[in-house]
Structure formats: C-alpha cells, structure tokens
C-alpha cells in the first residue's frame, strides 16, 4: 500500500500542476472555421509564435503562417500594416 502511495502521489501532483497550467482563459480564441474564412478573404495575417520544441515537435503548421519570435517583435512588427488583423498561435 505504501509503495502504491509513493507511486501515485508524484503522478497526481504533476497532473494537478499540469491541469492548473494547461490553459489561459484571458486569451481570446478564434474557431478554425472563422480563421479559414478570414484567410480565404486575405483579411488576416497568421503569426506562428511557437518557438523551440513547441514548433519543431508539431506536425501541424498553418500554410501561409509567418514564423515570428515574440521576443523580436521590434524586428517584424513593421512588416504588417497597423490596421492589419493578426491572429497569433502559440501552441
């Protein structure tokens, strides 16, 4: 019994931590259908802000998305018009 507890406690502790850090409710979300409509109209620029493994491990990359480093915003922000609608995805 002691062994089972020793095994389960860290598993649950990490799962709790993960669940807590799993989402950010303050970010507004766009459905893929809406985004597709915007992309078809050409009214949006999609920015892929994923870095490191977040980007390299992923199988899914949106066609036509611009890879941008959040830390280098000064370098790339001038490439977009001020009234341009931007959709950023980071995970």
């Amino acid at each position: 019994m002691k062994k089972i507890f020793a095994f389960l406690i860290p598993v649950f502790a990490f799962a709790l931590f993960a669940a807590y850090g799993g989402s950010d409710s303050s970010a507004s979300i766009v459905t893929k259908e809406t985004l597709k409509g915007w992309m078809d109209n050409g009214s949006v620029a999609v920015l892929d802000a994923r870095q490191g493994r977040d980007w390299s491990s992923s199988e899914f990359k949106i066609k036509g998305a611009h890879r941008t480093a959040p830390a280098k915003i000064a370098d790339w922000k001038s490439g977009f018009a001020k009234d341009q609608k931007l959709v950023i995805y980071c995970a």
């Binding site: 095994f7 598993v11 799962a15 993960a18 989402s23 490191g52 977040d54 980007w55 199988e59």
Partner: protein, 414 residues
C-alpha cells in the same frame, strides 16, 4: 513485479540492453537519424555501419565502467553528463511527447499536461526499487520496438514511392561524424549488470550487454534509415524536425502515424526513465565509495531533484527556447568526449594503435560536431559551464588530499 535480482542471462539479454537502448530509441535519435539519412542518401548506410563498428571497439575498450574505476578530478564528468542529459534532454523530449500525444491521440488533452504526467510517472517508478525501474525499462523499450518494427517491416514490404539516391548537395565533411551522436548513451547498459545474481562475472556481463545494445540499435538504425529513404524524398528528410513521422505516414498512412506516435511516447518514457535510473545507479555507487555526500546516495534524492529541475524548466517554458538545443548539444558532445577518453587511457597503458585511432576519431568527431551545429559559440560556452560543474568537486577533493587530509577521500562533502 519481482524485485529479486534477476539471473545474469536475463540481465544480459534483456534488462541491461534495455537500459542502454533507452536513449537510443528516444524521438531525438529518430530525428537525428532522419536528418542524417536525408543528407547522405544510401552512402549514409555505410557510415552507419562504420559507426557501429567504432562503438563495438569502444565497448571492447572498456566503455561503461568509467564510473567504477575513474578516480581523480575527472570522476564526476560521467555523472554530470548523465545529470545534464537527464535535465535538458528530458525537458525537450517530454514536451515533444506531449505534442505528439495531443496531435495524434487526444487533441483536447493539454500537451504540457501529458508531459508532466509522463514525468510524474517516471518519478513514481523511481521511488520504487532500482530493479523495478529496470524491469519497467525493459517493458518500455520492448513497447517502443513493438511500435517501430511493424513500420520497418511494412516499409520493406510495401513498394516505396522513391528510390534511394545520392543527395543533390555534398553534405560536408562533418557528416562523417554524425552517426557518432546516434549511439550516445549506449554505455548505460554497463550500469545494470551489477544487479545480476553473479557479481563475479560482472565484467563479462557488461561487455555482452554493451555488445547486444550496439547490435540491436545498429540493426534498427540501418533498417529505419533504409525504409525512410525508400518512402520519403531525401530533401524532405533532411532538415525536417519530424522526419520519423513523415516516414511513418508515408509507409502506413494514419496507422503509421499512430504507431510512430506510440513509439515516440514509449521512446520518450524509455529515455527519461533510463537517464533517471543511470543517475540513480551512478549516484548511489559514488556515494557508497565516498565520492558524493551520503544524502545523495539515498535512492529517492537524485530522482526528486531531477524531476524538480525538469518540472521547473518545463513550467518556465525552456522547451520553447532555442537555447535548450544548445544545452542538449553541449551535454551530448561532452558525453562523446568521455568516450574518447577511454581508448586514450588504454593507449597510454598498452600503446596499441586501435585505441589511439578510436580516441582520435571520436575526439575529432566531437570537435567537428561542436562547430557544425547551430550557434557553436553558445554551445561551447555551455560545454565549458558543464565541464566546470563536473570538475569543481574533483578539484576540491584533490586539493584537500594534497593538503594532507587523506581521510577526506572517504568522507562525504558539500
């Protein structure tokens, strides 16, 4: 699950190679192998076979026993590279496994949630006996192989859309050394035989376990390189961050994706569990020999510290930083350099040409690989930091003993 010491046969044929194969079946190895295949085409298969021979010679030269008979200021280097790999590589591959689980199996499950769950699972296993961890390691490696083998067989049986060819561009001289990176971690197989029921034959057990690890991984690498080149154009393999998934998809479609997804998840578990076990075994051995404080020799301390470091790094978003790759590269190159030291020591004793050639080849490979990666200066600076951390305790011991305090050799220190 039994916690008795297994027979030496079971140890050599299954458990010890599973520890050695832990890192070798990790998803990062598959990425390196895919990239290498894309850069070299079919001549790469010859280089792979050549590297396999180099590692057979290394095993014969005594790799895998450095933690037991390597006193002096260098004795902490093998442990430090394992700790470094356990922290940096695990952070990277756990997050990668989280993405694979999220994208292939369960889209609504948070990727970081899965990464933490996997880390928690490894930690939970590490809080049990070492032998339990070794048995689970063998199971995890078998499951990884069970996911990859149908893809290899399918890839051989099904006619691929491409014929393996030569790459359009000459890949450059450093490519000769790329396969050396694939076998880093094979020496972990040498740590397990001490747990067998026949300690007197530990040396033979170790050599056999290392040999079996190299043979199994070599056949697997060659087979995967061949099927990848048969099913994906070389230019799509080289530079891809997911060449293994591309190849799996091309071989079996969605079923291939699921199989490779399973291989990535079980392979990640195998690599992280193997690194935790290796650090634990090395740490307890060194603490028993008085080379580390006794506190670190307690079975749960090293796994807890490692899990805490990895958890913090994941929570702080280190996996999203390009610098993580430089840390991993630095650790791996330092690990490779430790392999060069073993034949060099043997050459010093026996003046035989083979160990000298081995040492020169691996040392040259380390240097070329160091400079052929991304941001080599950053990698060099990280390598120096890791080396500094490795040498500091050894220097303290050496200075303490020179000041006439020989007893401190057998005393724990802080």
């Amino acid at each position: 699950m039994t916690t008795e010491k297994p027979s030496s046969t079971l140890m050599i044929k299954c458990i010890a190679p599973a520890l050695g194969l832990g890192l070798l079946v990790s998803p990062d190895t598959l990425v390196r192998l895919g990239d290498f295949t894309g850069r070299t085409g079919w001549p790469g298969w010859i280089l792979l076979a050549g590297a396999m021979v180099v590692f057979f010679f290394l095993a014969a030269a005594g790799t895998g026993q450095e933690t037991h008979d390597n006193p002096g200021i260098w004795q902490y280097v093998p442990l430090t590279v394992k700790l470094g790999a356990a922290i940096f590589l695990s952070t990277g591959i756990l997050v990668s496994a989280g993405f694979v689980f999220n994208e292939i199996f369960l889209y609504w499950f948070p990727n970081f949630g899965f990464a933490f769950l996997l880390l928690g699972l490894v930690l939970g296993i590490q809080l049990m006996k070492i032998q339990t961890g070794l048995n689970i390691q063998a199971l995890a490696v078998l499951l990884t192989l069970a996911c990859v083998l149908p893809l290899v067989i399918g890839g051989m049986v099904v006619q691929g859309p491409v014929s393996p060819a030569l790459p359009e561009q000459f890949p450059g001289f450093p490519v000769l050394f790329f396969p050396l990176m694939l076998w880093i971690g094979f020496d972990l197989a040498g740590l397990a035989p001490a747990h067998a029921d026949t300690p007197n034959s530990e040396g033979n057990n170790r050599s056999n376990a290392l040999g079996l690890t190299i043979a199994v991984s070599g056949i697997l690498f060659l087979a995967w390189a061949v099927v990848s080149a048969l099913h994906v154009p070389l230019d799509k393999l080289s530079g891809s961050t997911i060449p293994h998934l591309r190849a799996a998809r091309s071989i079996m479609g969605d079923a291939g994706r699921y199989l490779m997804g399973g291989a990535v998840i079980f392979g990640t578990f195998s690599a992280v569990n193997a690194l935790f076990l290796a650090c634990r075994i090395s740490g307890t051995t060194m603490a028993r020999n008085g080379a580390l404080p006794k506190t670190l020799g307690k079975p749960v301390v090293i796994p807890l510290v490692l899990a805490l470091c990895i958890g913090l790094m994941m929570a702080l978003g280190m996996a999203g930083s390009e610098r993580l790759e430089n840390w991993i590269q630095a650790v791996f190159i330092l690990w490779l350099m430790t392999y060069a030291a073993i034949p060099a020591r043997r050459f010093k004793r026996k003046k035989s040409p083979i160990p000298a050639l081995l040492a020169i080849w691996i040392a040259a490979g380390s240097v070329f690989l160091l400079f052929s990666g991304e941001s080599p200066l950053l990698t060099i600076s990280y390598l120096i930091i890791i080396l500094g951390v490795s040498l500091a305790p050894g220097l303290i011991f050496t200075l303490a003993s020179k000041q006439g305090a020989p007893k401190k050799h057998n005393q724990p220190h802080n």
